[in-house]
């Protein structure tokens, strides 16, 4: 019988694949719906049992924190708890400082909420959520107590207890009941990215690679780096094993970034050599690359096994220097030796970085971990002007609402203030906040309608908690279900919030249609005003203005590479680069001129910045005489100036400075320690003269003959 059903179901899956897919999607959606409602009702029941003032606050907390993946819920909960504590402390302090000065009170409140909203735009993980919460909890603690300041402490204790209860219930339910593990997503993505990188490095043994192919690969590497960091930041809350591996995962990501940059530099160099007619040097470098490709191609079943790859790469690393000697000897003149040395140094660096990467991946996949690893951080590139605008907008919204409230003596003004606080914070970092606010508004209005039906037609006849669930569940379920629809962002959140907030479950329940309608109006006005504020002071996330600023910031990374303190500079440089690039690229049209120029700049910044960092490191270890040392320093400074504000004059200056540094170093070639410096300088010069890079526009053809040696 069972076998029959199995066959039957497989048959139908084969006949209607879309149906199977649909059913799988629906199953996930309904698991989420059931979990959310279970958590909400459990929180409400516990809040009533513990005799808390507003069980609705606990329910709202659950509604805001719930997410299909349990790691996300725990991460959100963690930051929410911190945000709540900070917010309530501030609310208390504010109330005790200005209990009778409503203007000053509201001014400080607006400022606090605005600063929190600005802080939220600086983070792209749930830390941002913690900031929103800090702002909004201060409001929910202080605003209801405004008529009775002595009450504020009790109010704060109640709100914090309710929020914490909601957090605990949401965390336990999502972690224990049919958990959907973010860890599995992270593991899958890690393996995919590893396999992709290894395949890519193996398949490009041909040496030459089209520019567009390189750009696509770069896009993918960057996305991988940022995505893995985001996932890691949430998974550590879900899984103790992942937490123990957290610093290893960070380091793995950094090594991946370092290796991909070296790989790209090597390929750019080979491409340039081929274009400038140095085919013999390019061929020698491709021959030097062959052992790396061979090390990456064991039998098919071992291809993505990091342990196997590590041993093979270690063997390959020993093989590289003698092969390099042989290939170098076959080249005719000193100029091509220098070019070959540059490429060979890059390839050796790539091989050793790749080996570090695979060995770390192997230790990460192993059951046990030994020893500790270097601690590194994924730095983010932030645009502080965008944050300042978010602060300004939120401050204006809150002040306008406060003024309206004060002047009109509107007794339900606090509801409007609260809603404005929540949503101006939540959408401060969104790309299209007006659309999101409009959708949320619609959802909110629908939620209020549903809550009206439930409150005045269903609940009065029901008795006991079970009947309460029976009466309210059918209309409540719609909210979490809408949340799972990716095509309707905001609608589900709005519906659930509107429904739960205005339903205001209490024990005993209060039925007051007048209060209900007044509350509904004030909340909708508050939400609507948030939307209006987003129209007047538009969001900058993803706007052309911010993209241009971020591109400038990306170029400025070379200045960082040239001047920043060397300690940990490489990782800082690599991670900020990728974070900035990812932020800009997600708002540009793929294939447009803008996207192409962005990619070109990103690649160029990567190559030159990395070369500058290596150069500075080599310079520190070398024993160059003082005049040569200062020539090299001047070249580094000239490169920084070029990227700070690219122009033809600055390009010429940088080119000359690098040229002079090369000549000065060449004269001192007796030292073994100046070889690496020379090689890096040569790489810089070759990157400067790349006529396909972003710098091509600044290259002056008039200069060509003088240095075409």
């Amino acid at each position: 019988m069972i076998a029959f059903f199995k066959n039957e179901s497989i048959a139908w899956q084969r006949r209607w694949p879309w149906l199977a897919e649909f059913m799988a999607g629906e199953r996930d959606a309904w698991v989420f719906v059931v979990k959310s409602s279970l958590a909400m009702y459990a929180a409400a029941w516990l809040a009533m049992w513990l005799e808390l003032e507003q069980p609705a606050t606990a329910m709202i907390t659950v509604a805001l924190v719930m997410h299909p993946h349990s790691g996300m819920v725990l991460a959100k909960s963690f930051y929410r708890a911190i945000g709540t504590l900070c917010g309530s402390l501030f609310g208390l302090a504010l109330m005790s400082v200005f209990p009778q000065q409503r203007e000053l009170f509201l001014f400080c409140m607006s400022l606090w909420v605005a600063l929190c909203a600005g802080g939220a735009t600086l983070y792209r993980n749930f830390m941002s959520y913690g900031f929103v919460l800090a702002g909004y909890t201060a409001a929910i603690v202080a605003l209801p107590a405004i008529g009775n300041p002595l009450n504020v402490f009790d109010s704060a204790v109640m709100r914090v207890s309710e929020v914490m209860l909601g957090i605990v219930v949401a965390g336990v339910v999502s972690d224990v009941v049919l958990p959907s593990r973010l860890r599995n997503v992270l593991r899958r993505r890690l393996r995919e990215h590893f396999a992709h990188f290894v395949d890519f490095a193996r398949d490009s043994t041909g040496g030459s690679m089209a520019r567009s192919e390189m750009e696509q690969a770069h896009l993918r590497f960057v996305r991988a780096a940022v995505e893995l960091e985001d996932l890691r930041a949430s998974v550590i809350f879900e899984d103790p094993e992942a937490r123990a591996r957290s610093s290893r995962m960070r380091l793995l990501n950094q090594r991946h970034m370092a290796a991909s940059t070296s790989f790209q530099s090597a390929h750019h160099l080979i491409n340039r050599l081929q274009r400038s007619g140095r085919q013999n040097v390019a061929d020698a470098l491709i021959a030097l690359y062959a052992p790396i490709g061979a090390a990456l191609s064991p039998e098919t079943k071992w291809r993505h096994q990091p342990e196997v790859l590590t041993t093979r790469l270690e063997a390959c690393e020993i093989e590289l220097p003698p092969l390099a000697e042989r290939l170098r000897a076959s080249l005719p003149d000193a100029a091509s030796w220098l070019e070959f040395d540059t490429g060979a140094a890059l390839l050796r660096r790539f091989a050793s970085e790749l080996r570090d990467f695979t060995s770390l991946e192997a230790s990460l996949r192993g059951q046990h971990m030994r020893g500790t690893v270097e601690r590194v951080h994924f730095r983010r590139g932030n645009d502080y002007a965008g944050a300042a605008i978010a602060v300004l907008r939120t401050f204006l919204t809150m002040s306008a609402l406060s003024a309206m409230w004060l002047l009109s003596g509107w007794s339900f003004g606090s509801g409007a203030m609260l809603l404005a606080t929540i949503f101006s914070g939540l959408y401060a970092a969104a790309a299209h906040p007006v659309i999101a606010t409009v959708k949320t508004w619609c959802g909110y209005a629908l939620g209020i309608l549903a809550a009206f039906v439930v409150t005045f037609f269903m609940l009065p006849g029901s008795n006991g908690f079970v009947m309460l669930i029976v009466a309210s569940a059918p209309l409540l379920l719609i909210g979490p279900y809408l949340m799972t629809r990716a095509t309707l962002p905001g609608l589900g959140v709005g519906y659930t919030l509107g429904f739960v907030y205005i339903l205001a479950l209490k024990n005993p329940m209060v039925y007051d249609p007048e209060h209900f309608l007044n509350d509904a109006i004030s909340q909708l006005v508050g939400l609507g005003l948030t939307g209006v504020a987003f129209i007047f002071v538009p969001a900058v996330t993803g706007s052309g203005w911010q993209r241009r600023r971020q591109l400038r910031q990306l170029r400025h990374q070379v200045v960082l590479a040239a001047t920043g303190p060397l300690e940990g500079l490489l990782y800082r440089f690599e991670s900020i680069n990728r974070d900035l690039f990812q932020q800009v690229v997600s708002f540009t049209q793929p294939g447009s001129d803008e996207s192409r120029s962005l990619l070109a700049w990103a690649l160029s910044v990567h190559e030159c910045g990395r070369a500058l960092i290596e150069l500075r490191q080599d310079l520190r270890h070398s024993e160059l005489p003082a005049p040569v040392h200062s020539e090299v320093q001047a070249a580094v400074a000239a490169m920084a100036q070029l990227y700070e504000a690219p122009s033809v004059a600055r390009w010429q200056r940088a080119e000359q400075a690098v040229e002079q540094a090369i000549n000065a170093t060449m004269c001192n070639d007796s030292h073994v320690s100046c070889r690496p410096v020379l090689v890096q300088l040569h790489l810089l010069r070759s990157a400067l003269r790349d006529d396909e890079s972003a710098l091509a526009a600044y290259i002056t053809p008039a200069m060509e003959p003088s240095h075409a040696v």
Partner: protein, 81 residues
């Protein structure tokens, strides 16, 4: 023997009263026990996660929850006087 010692320790130290004055605000002692147990669970997690021992458990998060309830219950009953 062990239980005697524990009981003795619990009665003699009786570390945590029902309400604790934290910056002059009365906080339930159970809350402090809760936070203590959270930290303990975090430490246990760090050790167990490092050696991957949760793989031998059918439902790790249920196990962790149960472990926490045991710790919290025991600590609450023993420490709170």
């Amino acid at each position: 023997m062990l239980s005697d010692a524990l009981l003795l320790a619990a009665t003699s130290t009786a570390a945590i009263p029902h309400e604790v004055a934290l910056f002059d605000a009365l906080v339930p002692g159970l809350l402090l026990v809760f936070l203590l147990c959270m930290m303990l669970l975090w430490a246990v997690d760090a050790v167990v996660g490092r050696f991957g021992l949760y793989r031998f458990v059918w439902h790790p998060s249920l196990f962790r929850l149960a472990l926490f309830v045991c710790m919290f219950g025991a600590a609450g009953l023993l420490l709170l006087r």
